[in-house]
Amino acid sequence: MGEFKVHRVRFFDYIPSGIRALAFNQDTERIAVARMDGSVEIFHCPDRCFQEKIIPGREQCGIEGLSWVGDRLFSAGLNGEITEYDLTNQKVKYTLDAYGGPIWAITGNQQGTHLAVGCEDGTVKLFELIEDTIQFERNLDRQKSRIISLSWHPSGSKIAAGMMDAIQIFNIETGHSIHRMLVDRGVGTSRSRECVVWSVVYLSNGTIISGDSVGMIKIWDDQTGTLIKSHFITKSDVLALSVSRDEDSIVAGTSEGTVVQFQFIAMVLGKDDKEWVRTRTFKNHTHDIRAVAEITTAVVSGGMDTHLVVKPLLDKIEVKSAASAFRKICFPHRRLVSCAKKSGLMLFQYTGHLELWKLGESEGQGMPGSSLLIKKNPEKLLHLKLKGEDHIRCSAVSPCGEWIVYSTASSLRLYQLHCANNNVSITKISNLPKVLSSANQLCFSSDSSHLFSASTQSVHLVSLSQDGCKFVGTLKPKSGSHQAIHLLAASEDGKWLASANSDHEVHIYNLQTLKAHCTVPVYSSAVTAMGIHPTTNCLFMMHADQQMFEYSIELKQYTDWSRTVQRKGLHSLWLNRDTPCLNVMFNPQNPSHVILHDAYMLCIIDQSLPLPDDKALFYNQLTLKSLPEKQRKSQSHAFKVCKTFKDILCVELMSDQSLVVVERPLEDLATQLPAPIKQKKFAT
C-alpha cells in the first residue's frame, strides 16, 4: 500500500490554558468554557462535545465568572469589567466597567432580567438586561469583605453571596441583608486563615449549599439562617459547586482534582424524608478543579490541568452510545499548525505569537518502523510577536511559504517572507484592503496567489503579488444563517472554495464567477474538517459524529462512494472514536486515497477497497503485516489506521510525499503545568 517518510515533530510547545469557569445553557445544550487566558469556548454537548466556537482572549482580562442569561453569555473578571459576547460573530460584543474593583462572581437570574456581580469592594451590583446591552440598576447593601460567590434563588427575589468567613442572604427588593451565616474556619493552624466561601448554590426550597476553603460542603436553611449539615470532603479547598436542573444532585470540585457528587435522596426507600447524601467521587484531574457543571446526563469539570472532562452519569443515560461516552478534551478542535506544503515550513500558532519552522532533512533510506539519520535539524526561522492585547484567532502560511497571515479579534496582519541564503526577513504588507480588518478563518489558494479571509458570513478574496495585495471580491452565500465561518477549503485548481459555519452549513463558491455555486445539504453534526479532491473536485467532509460525506461539486450531489458509505454504515470502532478528525488530505499520487487524522490516529481511506463490515477486524494493520503479500489483498479494507502516533495536533502531507505529524504528548504537557496539591500517597 505504501511507505511514508514521517517528520515527527514534538517541539510545538503548545500549552492550553487552564479552565476557570463553566456555564451550561440548558436550552441550547451548550457549555461555555472560560480559560485563564481569557478565551471563551462553546462546546455543543449532544454533538459529541464539539468545540463549535472559540472567542480568543486578551492579555490581562482574567475571567472569573461566566453566566448565560437566556441566549446571552456574560463574563466578568478581575479587571472589573463585564463582557458580553457576540456568539454569532464569535467576538466580544462590548465590555462595561462595573466600578466595584475586581469582580469575583457573576450570575444571571432564571427570569433573564437581571445580572448580579460580586465585587472586591463588598458590593453586589445588579444590572438590568436590556436589548443589546445591560444597565446598572443598583447596589445591594455593601459588605465589609469581597463577594466571592453568588447564587440567585430560582424565584429571583433573593440572592446568596459567599464571602470571607460568611454567607449573606439579600432581599433583592429591599437590597438589605436577611441573614448572615458565619462559616467556621479550619482547625489548627488554618484557624488563623480566613475561610473563603468559594461557591454557593441557592435551591428553590430555601436550602443554601456552600463550598469553602476549609474543605467543607455546608447545607444551610435560609429561613432560620442555620447550618443543617456539613460534610467534610477534602483537606484542601472546595472550589466549585453546581446543581442539577431538578435540584436533586450537586457536584463539588476540589483542589485535589476530585469531583464529589451529593444526591438528595430518601434515607428510607419510599419515604419522603430526603437528605443530601454523598454518593460518588470521580477523580479525573490532577490539579485544582476550578469549575464544575452538572449537565443533563453528565458532570463536566475543568481546572488547572487544562482538560475538560465530561463524565457521564450512568444512571441518567438510557442508551449507551458514543455520544454519551466519557470524554477528556485536551486540545482544541481547531488546527493550530499550518504547513507550507511546497517549501517544508510549519507555522505554529500560540496565543500571543507565531513561530515558523523549517523541517529537517534526512539521509538515506530506512526500513519501515525505523528512524532515519537526520542530516539537517529543523530550524526556527521566525518568532513573530503580536502587538496589542488581543490573542491570535487564526493564522496561515501560504503553500509556497512566502506569505504569513494572522488575525486577532481587532486586526489582520499579512507578512511577506524573504529567505535568501540563511537570511530570513519579513516585510509587513501595509495598506491592506479595508475588508481585511479581521478574520475568523484564513486560507491561501494552492498556488499562493490568493488569500481567502472569512469574516462573519462572507469570504473576502484578495490577490497577492510582489507589489502588495488587491481586493478581488466578496463571496456571499445566497441565503443561510449569519453564523461565523470556521473552516475554509480551496480546490487545487483554484476554481472552488468551500466554507463551513457553526450552523453546519457548507457553501461552495465558484472562484471564477465569484458567485455562490451551491450549498451542501445540511447535516445534523458539525463539520470538523474538509478538503476538495485535487482531481475529481469532490468535497470530502468529516463531521463531529465521525460520519464522512463526499460531495461532487460539479454534479452538486453526493458521490456514489459516499452513498455506499451511508448505506453500509461505518464500522462501530470508527464511530466510537472520541476525538474529531481535524484534517482531510489527498495523495496526488494515488487519487483514491483520502488521509485523515484525529488526536490518536492517522488513517488512509482507500476508496477503491471494500468497506469493512461490523464483523471485520477494523484495526487490521498488524494482521496484514503478518500476511504474505498475496493474501493481503483479500484481507484488506478501506480503512488503514496507523496508531503509531498519539496526542496529534496536526498531520499534513507535504508535496514531497512526506508526512508531518505534530505531536504534543500529554506527559510533556503535564511537566509544564504548575505542581498539583501535594497529597500523601501510600508508600511515598
Binding site: 511507505e3 517518510k5 515527527r8 528512524s371 537526520i374 503485516k625
Partner: protein
C-alpha cells in the same frame, strides 16, 4: 462435590457413665434452625444457639432423678418435652426457670422416647412398642398402654418420619439375634413388621437413618462390616393386605473400607439422596477417626474431616450441620452437598434410582431370577435389530458381573470383565468400573490364588478408576509385586495419598533389580531409561574430547569405571545408573506423582538408610544427567522434570538429614552433590548477570524516546 467446612465445638460431652456408646442422650432441633436442644446423659438439658456457640437456656433435674430420653421441642405448642425416670413426662416453656415447677404427668408404662418432627404433634413411644400422641396421652396420663412387642424384644432404635403430614413411627427391635423393623402409621393406626435380612456373621445394624423423599421412606442402615444398606419402605397401600412379618428388601448402597482395627462403633446419617455422612469408620487412606461424606451413587469419598477422641455411635444432621460427639466434645460441622455434576450432566440420576427401586420391589435379588429369562426376553426384541442384539445379549449387568466375580474362575472373570468393558456404554461404565474393581480386589484379597492382572489393567485403561474409588488396588498390587499395574496406576491415578506413594517407593527400592528386570513395563518409560543410559555409554566413548571449564573432579562412589579415565569430563563420565532400568522407570513414575511436601515428609522418613542412599544416588544421577544433557530432547511425554527431581532431592535431604549427616557411606554422596549444586549455583548466578545485561539491551531497543524531532518511516498495508 460435598464440602465439610471448618467445624467448631458446641459443648463438652460429659464423662460417660454407662457402658453403651452414648456420650449424650441426644441432639434435637430447637425452636428454629439456629437452635438445638442437647440432652446430656447426666441430668441436664441445654438449648444452644448454634451460630453463636452459646447456651441460651439450661434446665436440670434434681439429684436422684434421671432423664430417660432426649428432650424435644414441640413446635406446635412451643414447649419442651422430656421424660424423666421412665414414666414422668415433663412439659415446660422457654421462660420456665425451674424444671421442678413445670408441668408433670406420670404415665402408666415405661416411655422409651418422645419423638418430634417439625410442625407435627410429638409422639410418645413406649418401651413395650405402643405409640401415643403426646396430647392424647397427657389428656389421660394413666390410660392403659397395650403391649405390642414380645417379652424379650427390645427396641434398639426409633425415629419418626413426616410423610406428607402423615406421621410414621419407625423402630427396630432385637429379639434373640433377629432384627425387626416396625412401621407404625396413624389414621388408621397400623403396625407393619418387617424382618431384616440377616447373614451369618453379620451382627446387628449399628446405625439407622430414615428419610422421606419421592413418596417413599428410605431407611439407610449401617453394619459393623462397613456395609450400608438401603431399604425402601413400601407405601401404606402395598402393606395393608399382608399380615405377619415381611422380609425387608434391601440394596447395598455403600461398602465402606475397613481398617485393621476392630470397629466398636460408628454411625451414618443420610444427607441427601446421594450423600451419606459416616463417622467411626476409617478413612480409606488416612486411617480411623474421620468424619466422611460418601457419595452413594459413585461410591466415592467426597469430603472428610478428622475427629479426634472416642467416637460414639451418634451422628445428627440438622439444617446443613452435622453434630458429632467425639472425645469429650460435641462438634458442629457445617457441610454442603452439591448435586454431583456427573450424574446431573448425564441425566441419569433419576433413572438409575427408579430402576433400582423396581428391581428391589419385585425381586429380592437378581441372582434369584434365572439368567435365561432375561436372554429370552431380549432375544425376542433383538430380531428387529442385530446391533442391539449383540449389545443386549451378552452385556452383563454390573450385579451379574459382580456375582460372577465372587465365584467364577480366574480366566472366566478376566474374560467377562473384558467383555463387560467392551460392551457397556461409557456412561454406565464410569459408574460400574469402580464397583467391579472393588469386587475384584476384595476377591483377590481373600483368595490368594485369584489375581486377575489383565482385568485390572483393562479397568485402569478405561481411566474411570481413581485411587479413592478403589484404594486397595495399589496395595494389592504391591503385595503381589505387580509393578506393571503399579506403573499404570501411578500414571493414571492423580489422587494417590502421600503415604501410599511412600509405601510404593519403599517397595520399589527394596525389590532387587534382578527381580525387577523380568517385569514388563510401559515401553515409553523404558525407552526413556535406555536413552538416559545410552547417552552415558556414548559419552563414555567420546570422553576426553570435551573441552572447557572443568570443575574439581567428582568421583562417584558407585562408579565401576577404571580409575585411569579420571581425566575425562567429570560431570558425565563417571556416572552410571545406580539402579536397574526397570527400577529407574518405576522411580520416575513415583517422581511424577502429585504430592504435597508436608504430608509426604513423615512417610518419607520410613525409608531405611540403604533405600535412602540408593534413591538419592538415583536422583543425583538424574540430576547430573539432566544438567549435562540439557540440550538433548528426549522424546517422551512422561519424563520427570528437573524441578521434580530437585524437589525430591530436597525432600529426601529434609527427611533424612541427620541420617545423611551421620552415616559414613553417605558422606561422599552428599559432598558430591554439594559440589555439583555449588557449581550449578555459580552457573546460575552468572546466567543471572547475562540475563540482566540482555534485559538492558532489550529495553534499550524498545524505547522510543527520540526527543523533539525524528524522521521515521512508516508503512501502511
Amino acid at each position: 462435590m460435598a464440602v465439610l467446612y471448618e467445624g467448631y465445638t458446641l459443648c463438652g460431652v460429659g464423662p460417660v457413665q454407662n457402658s453403651s456408646n452414648i456420650g449424650i442422650l441426644g441432639v434435637e432441633p430447637g425452636r428454629d434452625i439456629d437452635h438445638v436442644l442437647v440432652t446430656d446423659s447426666s441430668r441436664s438439658i441445654t438449648v444452644y444457639k448454634v451460630s453463636d456457640q452459646k447456651p441460651t437456656g439450661s434446665w436440670s433435674v434434681k439429684q436422684g432423678q434421671k432423664i430417660s430420653c432426649p428432650a424435644v421441642f414441640n413446635t406446635q405448642s412451643q414447649e419442651y418435652v422430656v421424660v424423666t425416670d421412665d414414666k414422668v413426662v415433663r412439659v415446660w416453656k422457654e421462660d420456665d426457670v425451674n424444671l421442678e415447677k413445670a408441668f408433670k404427668a406420670t404415665v402408666s408404662a415405661d416411655v422409651l422416647r418422645v419423638l418430634s418432627a417439625t410442625d407435627v404433634e410429638p409422639v410418645v413411644l413406649f418401651c413395650c412398642g405402643a405409640v401415643r400422641f403426646l396430647d392424647s396421652l397427657l389428656a389421660s396420663p394413666q390410660q392403659p398402654i397395650e403391649v405390642v412387642l414380645a417379652e424379650d424384644e427390645i427396641i434398639r432404635w426409633s425415629s419418626v418420619v413426616d410423610e406428607e403430614h402423615q406421621l410414621v413411627v419407625l423402630f427396630s427391635t432385637e429379639k434373640r439375634g433377629e432384627h425387626f423393623l416396625y412401621v407404625w402409621r396413624f389414621n388408621p393406626n397400623t403396625l407393619v413388621k418387617h424382618r431384616f435380612e440377616t447373614e451369618p456373621g453379620l451382627s446387628a445394624p449399628i446405625s439407622f437413618s430414615a428419610t422421606y423423599r419421592g413418596g417413599n421412606i428410605h431407611l439407610l442402615y449401617l453394619y459393623l462390616n462397613g456395609c450400608v444398606y438401603e431399604s425402601l419402605l413400601p407405601l401404606r397401600s402395598s402393606s395393608t393386605g399382608a399380615e405377619g412379618v415381611q422380609a425387608l428388601s434391601r440394596s447395598l448402597c455403600l461398602s465402606l473400607p475397613l481398617g485393621e482395627e476392630k470397629l466398636m462403633s460408628g454411625a451414618a446419617v443420610v444427607l441427601d439422596e446421594a450423600h451419606v455422612a459416616v463417622v467411626g469408620f476409617p478413612h480409606p487412606s488416612a486411617g480411623a477417626d474421620y468424619l466422611c461424606i460418601w457419595n452413594t451413587h459413585f461410591q466415592t469419598l467426597q469430603a472428610s474431616k478428622e475427629t479426634t477422641g472416642r467416637i460414639y455411635s451418634q451422628l445428627w444432621c440438622y439444617s446443613g450441620k452435622l453434630y458429632v460427639p467425639h472425645g469429650s466434645m460435641l462438634s458442629v460441622i457445617p457441610f454442603e452437598c452439591q448435586k454431583s455434576s456427573l450424574a446431573a450432566a448425564m441425566g441419569k440420576l433419576k433413572e438409575t434410582i427408579q430402576s433400582e427401586f423396581k428391581s428391589h420391589s419385585f425381586a429380592s435379588s437378581w441372582s434369584a431370577q434365572s439368567y435365561s429369562d432375561v436372554t429370552q426376553a431380549t432375544e425376542i426384541k433383538s430380531r428387529m435389530s442385530s446391533k442391539t442384539n449383540s449389545n443386549a445379549q451378552s452385556a452383563l449387568t454390573v450385579e451379574q458381573l459382580i456375582e460372577h466375580i465372587k465365584t467364577s474362575a480366574l480366566e472366566d472373570v478376566q474374560a467377562e470383565v473384558g467383555e463387560f468393558i467392551r460392551r457397556t456404554p461409557q456412561a454406565d461404565l464410569q459408574l460400574a468400573a469402580g464397583r467391579v474393581a472393588l469386587e475384584l480386589v476384595s476377591r483377590s484379597q481373600t483368595d490368594a490364588s485369584f489375581y486377575p492382572q489383565c482385568a485390572f489393567l483393562q479397568l485402569l485403561e478405561t481411566r474411570y478408576l481413581c485411587y479413592s474409588v478403589c484404594p486397595e488396588l495399589l496395595s494389592l498390587a504391591m503385595v503381589k509385586k505387580d509393578f506393571r499395574l503399579c506403573q499404570i496406576a501411578f500414571q493414571i491415578f492423580s489422587d494417590i495419598p502421600e503415604a501410599v506413594t511412600c509405601a510404593c517407593l519403599k517397595a520399589i527400592l527394596s525389590t532387587p533389580d534382578s527381580e525387577m528386570a523380568t517385569v514388563n513395563l510401559d515401553t515409553g518409560s523404558m525407552m526413556f531409561m535406555k536413552e538416559l543410559t545410552r547417552a552415558q555409554s556414548q559419552s563414555d566413548e567420546e570422553g576426553g574430547q570435551l573441552n572447557g571449564f572443568c570443575p574439581p573432579a567428582i568421583e562417584s562412589d558407585i562408579s565401576d569405571t577404571p580409575r585411569n579415565k579420571l581425566q575425562r569430563d567429570p560431570l558425565a563420565l563417571d556416572m552410571s545408573c545406580p539402579v536397574g532400568l526397570h527400577k529407574g522407570a518405576l522411580l520416575n513414575e513415583v517422581l511424577q506423582t502429585a504430592y504435597s511436601d508436608r504430608p509426604l515428609l513423615p512417610h518419607l522418613k520410613d525409608l531405611t538408610v540403604p533405600q535412602v542412599m540408593v534413591f538419592l544416588q538415583y536422583l543425583r544421577f538424574l540430576y547430573f544427567k539432566y544438567s549435562h544433557d540439557a540440550h538433548k530432547q528426549i522424546q517422551d511425554l512422561r519424563t520427570p522434570s528437573i524441578s521434580q527431581i530437585i524437589d525430591w532431592v530436597c525432600l529426601l535431604l529434609d527427611a533424612h538429614f541427620t541420617v545423611l549427616a551421620v552415616a559414613p557411606e553417605a558422606k561422599r554422596l552428599v559432598s558430591d552433590l554439594h559440589k555439583f549444586v555449588r557449581s550449578q549455583v555459580k552457573l546460575y548466578a552468572e546466567l543471572g548477570k547475562i540475563e540482566g545485561s540482555l534485559q538492558v539491551l532489550k529495553n534499550s531497543k524498545q524505547s522510543e524516546a527520540f526527543g523533539m524531532y525524528a524522521i521515521q518511516v512508516i508503512e501502511l498495508f
